[in-house]
């Protein structure tokens, strides 16, 4: 266990722009011009995203969700990256990117269907430029590389037109870094100089397996072997995440090729609501990370350094309560799938055999319902 505890200490080359105590610090490579109002807006994102997560966990405890994958502790990494995206950029999430979904204007309710068992996706990837959650570990990194291949072929990279040049952001975790698909996506991205940014949230744990099970080197160093830059950021620092992702996305849009960002963070909660961390990690580890909370440091900054009044925090609390009510009531109101819906959208052009099965299943279910009635 001691070696895992050691892993939580950041490396000296980790990019940090806001310390856990809420002090703004500068980094020579990542100057960040940001107003206090903009930092307050990020704070709002962080608070609301955490509220969504808290409500979803409660809903799972009440039996309203079958499962939930909590993002607690990873809000800053996700909000920073999410707010670095332009509207026309495309992002490919895992199943834990609730914070990025928030930044892509996906209604939190649209995320719940997957976990409640009422649908498999829940929102339009095209409308939000944010793909549906991908559960197979690492598979989406190849989709991101392929999408970036399309961007290149559309001539939407390196034109200098900010409305046209497009970047792609691929999310994955420390566990996924071992997957073939992730490594293949690095190969495709490097060989094709693709406008894709790989955003790895190293939250230290792949369910029960520590990062040391996945890698002997810091994950960001993997990039050099593939021939593109990699860097580590303080994943609990929303400003570092914003600045570094913004720079990497800009490089991608400007035809400078891919970047790997390792956001060094911590999964404060179990892997999902079904997981039990007591079997594999020390509680003291989470206690250490609590001191680096991604939200507390922004609040400390706003209270101490910025001209943000108490009214702001009071209004945000009201907004958070409203959002929670929206999530709670909306979750319970999510429509159950109908028997015939499972046959829909299997094919664009459905075969006769499938239509026959649909007819038989629908008739059978309704006949049983009639008997029961």
């Amino acid at each position: 266990m001691t070696e895992h505890v050691r892993a939580v200490h950041p490396e000296p080359d980790m990019v940090q722009l806001l310390t856990p105590e809420g002090q703004r610090v500068e980094h020579p490579d990542y100057p960040l011009e940001i107003t206090d109002d903009e930092i307050a807006a990020l704070y709002r994102d962080l608070v609301l995203v955490r509220r969504i997560d808290t409500e979803a966990i409660a809903l799972q405890r009440q039996g309203e969700l079958g499962l939930w994958a909590s993002l607690l502790g990873q809000e800053a990494a996700q909000v920073g990256a999410g707010r670095a995206l332009k509207k026309h950029d495309m992002a490919f999430p895992t199943y834990r990117e609730h914070g990025v979904a928030w930044c892509r204007d996906v209604d939190p309710l649209a995320l719940l269907g997957l976990f409640r068992g009422t649908n498999l996706g829940g929102f339009s990837p095209h409308e939000h430029n944010f793909n549906n959650y991908t559960i197979v570990i690492g598979a989406q990194t190849l989709h991101a590389a392929g999408y970036a291949m399309g961007v290149v072929r559309d001539g939407a990279v390196g034109t200098g037109d900010p409305e046209r040049d497009t970047a792609v952001l691929a999310f994955f975790g420390d566990g996924a870094s071992s997957q073939g698909d992730v490594n293949e996506s690095f190969v495709f991205a490097a060989a094709g100089n693709l406008p894709v940014v790989f955003f790895c949230q190293n939250n230290q744990w792949a369910i029960s397996e520590p990062v040391t099970t996945q890698s002997r080197v810091p994950l960001y160093k993997r990039a050099s072997g593939f021939g593109f830059p990699g860097m580590r950021i303080d994943g609990n620092d929303v400003l570092a995440s914003l600045a570094v992702t913004r720079k990497a996305l800009n490089d991608a849009r400007n035809a400078q090729g891919p970047t790997l960002i390792e956001a060094f963070t911590y999964r404060m909660n179990p892997h999902t609501t079904n997981d039990d961390t007591r079997r594999y990690r020390l509680g003291s580890e989470a206690e250490t990370w609590k001191l680096k909370d991604p939200i507390a440091r922004v609040k400390a900054y706003l209270l101490r350094e910025a001209n943000v009044g108490t009214e702001f925090f009071a209004e945000l609390e009201q907004e958070s309560k409203k959002l929670a009510e929206h999530v709670r009531a909306g979750c319970r109101a999510l429509p159950n799938p109908t028997p015939e819906s499972v046959f829909q959208n299997v094919y664009v052009d459905a075969p006769d055999e499938l239509l026959k099965q649909r007819g038989e299943f629908v008739d059978f279910v309704s006949s049983i319902e009639e008997v029961n009635a």
Binding site: A139, L142, H143, G146, Y147, V348, E353
Partner: protein, 323 residues
């Protein structure tokens, strides 16, 4: 029109699809400069450029996974898997992503991807180069699976598959690539419709891909003994064209399914199940299967015996007629 080989017909079909739709891309290993190890994509990169005919890294999951992303961006990728036995590194992306994305997204994200797979044996190849994995894909909801057997079908079916908004696994019988030349039909036949390629009244032989030629040869041999075998080229494995099969079985009362793939849990099993469900009283004999065996593909010196051949097919015909 002049007669051409299946490889050439596929090449021309791909060329036509690329001319008709600028979103059609070809991607795979050695498909560019080399023109593919079977020369099916010969000359296409020269004419359409490296952006549309893409020599990919050697990573099948990468080929399929990036095709998914390209499809999301509005492209129509045609992926070449170099040999049947090499599709498995890409199996996860095919089964879990290509097949399911449309459903997961509630019909909002289409996957118009064609995956070309040279399949089957009979060419004296080494391990992993002679397999028939079609049943894996036919078993997966969301995929369509077809197999061409002759140059004209190859020319038309590849274009129909590429224009399909559903993903299509396109099996090409590699032993037929350069086997025989024939003319291209002036009009396409429906992609998912089976075709009676030799009428007969005694027994129905059902085959697809490389086994259609074998079934026709068997029927010609049987005709010398006075047996009239009907041969159906199935063409589409998923969906299955049962009306054509049932119509034939209704007349002959006897059905033999021929495929190179192993015996159990395969296309033959599915057809046998459906025929007994839907044409039980038409049957004069059990549905029989002539197939590979439930073993790994054999060393090539044994493949002509291991694969369905005329002797094994005619033996099954005798069995069927013996009931």
């Amino acid at each position: 029109m002049t007669a051409r080989t299946m490889a050439k017909a596929l090449n021309e079909g791909l060329r036509k699809a690329m001319e008709d739709d600028p979103k059609v891309l070809i991607m795979g290993e050695d498909v560019g400069k080399l023109g593919g190890v079977f020369r099916v994509t010969d000359g296409l990169q020269k004419d359409f450029g490296e952006d549309r005919v893409i020599d990919t890294p050697l990573a099948e999951s990468g080929i399929i996974g990036t095709a998914v992303g390209l499809a999301m961006r509005g492209y129509r990728p045609v992926c070449e898997i170099q040999f049947d036995g090499f599709v498995f590194p890409g199996f996860d992306q095919i089964v879990s992503q290509v097949a399911k994305m449309y459903n997961r997204s509630a019909g909002l994200v289409k996957m118009p991807i064609t995956i070309r797979i040279p399949f089957g044996g009979g060419i004296g190849a080494v391990e992993h180069h002679s397999e028939s994995p079609e049943a894996y894909f036919a078993h997966t909801a969301g995929l369509k699976v077809v197999a061409c057997s002759n140059p004209s079908d190859a020319y038309w079916m590849i274009q129909q598959s590429i224009s399909s908004d559903d993903p299509v696994i396109f099996f090409e019988p590699k032993r037929r690539y350069h086997a025989a030349k024939s003319e291209i039909d002036p009009e396409p036949y429906p992609l998912h419709q089976a075709r009676v390629v030799r009428p007969g009244r005694d027994v129905t032989l059902l085959a697809y891909g490389p086994m259609v030629a074998m079934a026709l040869e068997s029927a010609a041999a049987a005709a010398e003994d006075g047996q009239e075998l009907e041969v159906i080229d199935l063409r589409s494995i998923s969906p299955l064209d049962m009306p054509t099969v049932l119509e034939s079985v209704g007349r002959t009362g006897r059905l033999i399914v021929v495929h190179e793939a192993p015996h159990s849990f395969g296309v033959g099993a599915e057809i046998a199940a459906r025929v007994q469900e839907q044409a039980f009283y038409s049957l004069e004999a059990p549905v029989l299967r002539v197939s590979g065996f439930d073993t790994p593909y054999p060393p090539s010196r044994l493949e002509n015996e291991w694969l369905p051949n005329i002797d094994r097919i005619l033996d099954a015909v005798d069995q069927s007629l013996g009931y």
